[in-house]
C-alpha cells in the first residue's frame, strides 16, 4: 500500500479531474475548475507530506528516477514526460480559443447614496417601502396592494422575469445577462427593498460602471411607473417568489430575544 503512494495520488488526482470535468452538468466554468483542481492538488501533496513515512514512500519512485535506480525505460519515460506535460499545459493556456472576452460584472453593485426619482432626491440609506411600513398591521390592505402589484408585474415585468418569477420569461434568453431570478435565494431575498427600488427606478442605465450598464436590459421604470406602482410591484415580487426582504430591524429584534 505504502509503496504505491505516488501512484494512488496520481490516480486520485485524475479521478477528481474527471469527476469535476464530466460529472458536473452544466459544465463548470474553467475558472472554477482551475480553483478546484489547484486546491485538490495542494490537498493531495500536503496529505502525502503530512506523515514522514508516507512522504518518503511518495517521493521514492521519483527519487529512483532521478538517482538513476529505476529501469532505464522508466527513467526515460518520466524524464521526457514531465517537460512534455509542462509544454502541453503551456499550450493549453496559449492556444487561441477566440472565446468572447470575459466581461466581469458585479452582480449586486453598490447603490449610490442618493438618486433621482422624478426629480426628487432619494436617500438610499433611509429609504423604506412606505406601503409595507404603513400597512404592517393591516394584512388585508397589504394583500390588496400586493394584488395590485401583481397586475403591474404581469403588465410590465413578466416578459423577462417570468410567469413564475424565475427569470425565465419569454424574452429572457435574448438578453445577456439574463434577467434576475427572484426565486433564487441569492437575489432579492438577500437585499433590502430600498435596493430593489433603486434598481427598478433607475434600470440598466442607472448601474455603476462595474456592473456593465450598457448590457442590462432593465428599463428605467421611473419613466413608466409611479413611485406607488413600483413599491406595489416590489411587494408582489417578494410575495410571489415566496421570499421576504432583508430587514435589519427584524434581525436585531431576533437577537435581543
Amino acid at each position: 500500500m505504502r509503496r504505491h503512494t505516488l501512484y494512488i495520488a496520481i490516480m486520485l488526482w485524475l479521478a477528481i479531474l474527471a469527476g469535476l470535468k464530466f460529472g458536473v452538468r452544466p459544465p463548470m466554468p474553467a475558472s472554477v475548475l482551475m480553483i478546484y483542481m489547484t486546491l485538490s492538488t495542494i490537498a493531495i501533496i500536503l496529505f502525502a507530506a503530512a506523515d514522514e513515512a508516507r512522504f518518503q514512500a511518495f517521493l521514492a519512485p521519483l527519487r529512483a528516477v532521478f538517482e538513476g535506480r529505476a529501469p532505464k525505460a522508466v527513467q526515460l519515460l518520466v524524464l521526457a514526460g514531465i517537460p512534455l506535460l509542462a509544454g502541453w499545459g503551456a499550450w493549453l493556456r496559449t492556444a487561441p480559443s477566440w472565446d468572447a472576452p470575459f466581461e466581469p460584472r458585479v452582480v449586486h453593485p453598490e447603490p449610490p447614496s442618493t438618486f433621482n426619482f422624478h426629480g426628487k432626491r432619494i436617500d438610499t440609506a433611509s429609504l423604506k417601502n412606505p406601503l409595507r411600513a404603513a400597512h404592517e398591521k393591516d394584512p388585508a390592505q397589504l394583500e390588496k396592494l400586493t394584488a395590485e402589484g401583481k397586475t403591474i408585474y404581469y403588465q410590465n415585468c413578466f416578459f423577462c422575469h417570468g410567469d413564475a418569477l424565475a427569470g425565465d420569461g419569454h424574452f429572457a434568453n435574448a438578453f445577456s445577462p439574463i434577467p434576475a431570478n427572484f426565486r433564487d435565494v441569492g437575489t432579492i431575498s438577500m437585499l433590502q427593498e430600498s435596493f430593489v427600488f433603486w434598481r427598478v427606478s433607475t434600470g440598466g442605465p442607472g448601474l455603476p460602471r462595474a456592473a456593465t450598464p450598457w448590457l442590462s436590459a432593465m428599463p428605467v421604470w421611473q419613466n413608466f411607473l409611479t413611485e406607488d406602482e413600483i413599491w406595489k410591484a416590489i411587494l408582489y415580487i417578494y410575495a410571489g417568489s415566496g421570499s421576504t426582504p432583508r430587514t435589519w430591524d427584524e434581525e436585531t429584534k431576533h437577537e435581543k430575544h
Binding site: 517537460p83 468572447a100 413564475a164
Partner: protein, 496 residues
C-alpha cells in the same frame, strides 16, 4: 356572448361533427386513460388565480391583465377549443392532453412549462378547474372517449424523408407552409383563427416554436389530430396511411434547423474576392452563428409582440474588406407598400473605448454607435446614434449593402473596407468588435423602436495563429527539461 363568437362556435361544432363522422373508422384509437387525481375545484381555483389568471383571466376568457401584452394571445377557455390534443380533430382534449400542455407549456408562446414550478398533483387540479370554464358544457356532455394511438416512430431514413417531401408537394402543404417550409406559401397571407385573430403558418425551420413540441411523434400527432381552431386541419382524410403521415413528419422534422447561439461572430479569412451573391459556396461554407432577439420593451414605444426571435449571421474578410451576411426568415416581403418595409440593422460602437460600451439600444449621449440599416424599400442607410432619440444620418462612407428576398428568407450582405479613417470603428484581425442587431417586420407593423433587438455580441475577424502559441510551450518544455537536468546532476552526485 357576441354573435361572431357564436358563429365560430357553430362552425366548430359542425366541424367537429363532420370530422367525427369521417375519421372515426380510419383512425386507430384506444380508450382515454383515466384521470389519476380527483377534482378539488376550490384548490384548483386558488391555483388558477395564483398562476394563470394574469393571462387567461379570472373567467377564463383569455383576457387577464397581461393578455394584451403577449403574442399570440392567451387561450380563451370558454369555447373549449384546444390545439394540442391526442383526440381526433374537432374533439375535446383528454385530461392528459391538458395536463401535458400545462406541464410542458407551448413553445413559441409566453405559456411556460409549469412542471418546474407547480407540483404534479396541483397541475391536475388546474386541469379540472380549467374545464369548468367551458360555457357550453361540452366537457360534461361530450368528453373525449377515444384517443389516437401513436405508435413507435419509425427511423428517420433518407428514403422516408424523400417520401415525405413528395407528400409535402403532393398534398399541397407548401401552399401555406411554403416550398422550403418557411411559412411563406401563396395562401399564407391573411389567415385568421377561430377567434378572429390573424395567424400565420408555422415556419418549419424554427422547430423550437412548434406549439405541440418538435419530436417526430409530436409532429405526427399534429398531422393526425389537427389544431382545432386554426386553419391547420387533420390530415387523416388526406393521408390515410399512418406510414405516410410518419414520412411527412420525418420530412418536416428534417427541415428543422437547431439554433446555434454564439457570443462571437467569427469572420473567416478568404484569399480572393468576397462573393456578392449570398448563395455563393463561400458563404455556404462560412461558419454561421445565431443571435436570439427579443421585443424592444425598454424604451417608449415599447413593443411586446415581435415576430422575429433570431437572426443568423456569417462573416468573411480579406485584406481589403469585411462582409457580414445576415439571414432571417420572414413569411412576407414588405417593401413599404401599405405596411412599413422590412428592415435589419447592425450597430457597433463608433470608437471602442476603455472597456465601456455604448448602451445596447442605439448608444447613449457619451458613446455613439454606428448603425448600418438596410430596408427592403430604401436599401442601405447609415446613422450615427447617440441614444434612440438622437439618430443622425451620415454618408455611407464605403459601406455597401446587397440584399434580397427569396423563399421566405432575407439575405443581406453588408460590407465595409477594412481600413478606415479615424473616428470609425476599427475592425482588424484579432480585435473583438462589439456588435448588436435589430430587426423589423413590416407585416407586423414594426417600425422605429417597434422592433426585435439583441444585446451586445462580438465580431471577430479571426487572425492567423500567432507564433507565440508555439514558442511558449516549447520554451516552458525546455525550461522544465533544464530544471530536470539540474536536479539529476544534484541527486546523482550526492550519494543518498
Amino acid at each position: 356572448m357576441k354573435s361572431t363568437d357564436f358563429l365560430g362556435m357553430i362552425c366548430a361544432l359542425a366541424f367537429c361533427a363532420s370530422a367525427l363522422a369521417a375519421d372515426a373508422p380510419k383512425l386507430k384509437t384506444e380508450p382515454v386513460k383515466p384521470t389519476p387525481v380527483a377534482a378539488d375545484l376550490d384548490a384548483g381555483k386558488k391555483l388558477y388565480q395564483r398562476w394563470c389568471a394574469q393571462c387567461h383571466g379570472n373567467e377564463g376568457k383569455g383576457d387577464g391583465p397581461a393578455a394584451d401584452f403577449v403574442y399570440p394571445r392567451p387561450r380563451d377557455f370558454t369555447l373549449a377549443i384546444f390545439k394540442v390534443r391526442t383526440t381526433p380533430s374537432g374533439q375535446l382534449p383528454t385530461d392528459h392532453d391538458l395536463f401535458h400542455i400545462i406541464s410542458e407549456g407551448l413553445p413559441g408562446t409566453s405559456m411556460p412549462a409549469w412542471k418546474k414550478f407547480i407540483p404534479e398533483n396541483e397541475r391536475w387540479q388546474l386541469v379540472h378547474y380549467v374545464k369548468t370554464f367551458d360555457s357550453l358544457g361540452l366537457f360534461k356532455e361530450e368528453p373525449a372517449k377515444e384517443q389516437v394511438v401513436i405508435d413507435a416512430a419509425p427511423k428517420m431514413t433518407p428514403e422516408l424523408i424523400a417520401k415525405g417531401k413528395e407528400l409535402y408537394q403532393q398534398k399541397k402543404c407548401w401552399q401555406c407552409h411554403g416550398p422550403t417550409g418557411r411559412g411563406d406559401g401563396p395562401s399564407s397571407a391573411g389567415m385568421k383563427d377561430e377567434w378572429g385573430f390573424p395567424i400565420r403558418p408555422v415556419n418549419f425551420t424554427k422547430s423550437w416554436r412548434f406549439r405541440g413540441g418538435d419530436r417526430i411523434e409530436d409532429i405526427y400527432r399534429t398531422f393526425t389530430t389537427g389544431f382545432n381552431g386554426t386553419p391547420m386541419p387533420s390530415f387523416v382524410d388526406a393521408i390515410p396511411a399512418a406510414e405516410d403521415r410518419w414520412a411527412l413528419a420525418a420530412f418536416v422534422k428534417s427541415l428543422a434547423r437547431p439554433q446555434k447561439n454564439a457570443q462571437v461572430l467569427k469572420a473567416g479569412n478568404i484569399a480572393g474576392e468576397i462573393p456578392a451573391d449570398p448563395y455563393a459556396k463561400e458563404w455556404e461554407a462560412a461558419e454561421f452563428a445565431d443571435f436570439p432577439l427579443a421585443g424592444q420593451i425598454i424604451l417608449e414605444p415599447r413593443w411586446f409582440k415581435p415576430v422575429h426571435d433570431v437572426i443568423t449571421a456569417r462573416a468573411l474578410y480579406n485584406d481589403k474588406e469585411i462582409a457580414i451576411l445576415l439571414e432571417w426568415d420572414d413569411g412576407t416581403n414588405n417593401t413599404g407598400i401599405g405596411k412599413p418595409a422590412d428592415e435589419v440593422a447592425l450597430q457597433m460602437p463608433v470608437q471602442a473605448s476603455d472597456g465601456v460600451k455604448p448602451y445596447f439600444i442605439l448608444g447613449d449621449d457619451k458613446h455613439a454607435v454606428d448603425v448600418w440599416r438596410w430596408s427592403a424599400k430604401d436599401g442601405l442607410q447609415r446613422y450615427t446614434a447617440e441614444g434612440a432619440s438622437k439618430q443622425t444620418p451620415r454618408e455611407a462612407g464605403g459601406v455597401v449593402a446587397q440584399g434580397g428576398y427569396k423563399e421566405g428568407q432575407y439575405r443581406v450582405i453588408l460590407r465595409r473596407p477594412l481600413r478606415v479613417g479615424a473616428g470609425e470603428t476599427a475592425i482588424e484581425p484579432g480585435r473583438f468588435v462589439p456588435i448588436a442587431f435589430q430587426l423589423r417586420d413590416g407585416d407586423n407593423g414594426e417600425e422605429g423602436l417597434k422592433m426585435s433587438l439583441s444585446t451586445w455580441y462580438y465580431l471577430l475577424p479571426q487572425p492567423a495563429t500567432p507564433l507565440t502559441v508555439v514558442l511558449w510551450p516549447l520554451g516552458i518544455g525546455f525550461l522544465t527539461l533544464g530544471g530536470e537536468f539540474w536536479l539529476l546532476r544534484r541527486m546523482r552526485r550526492r550519494p543518498s
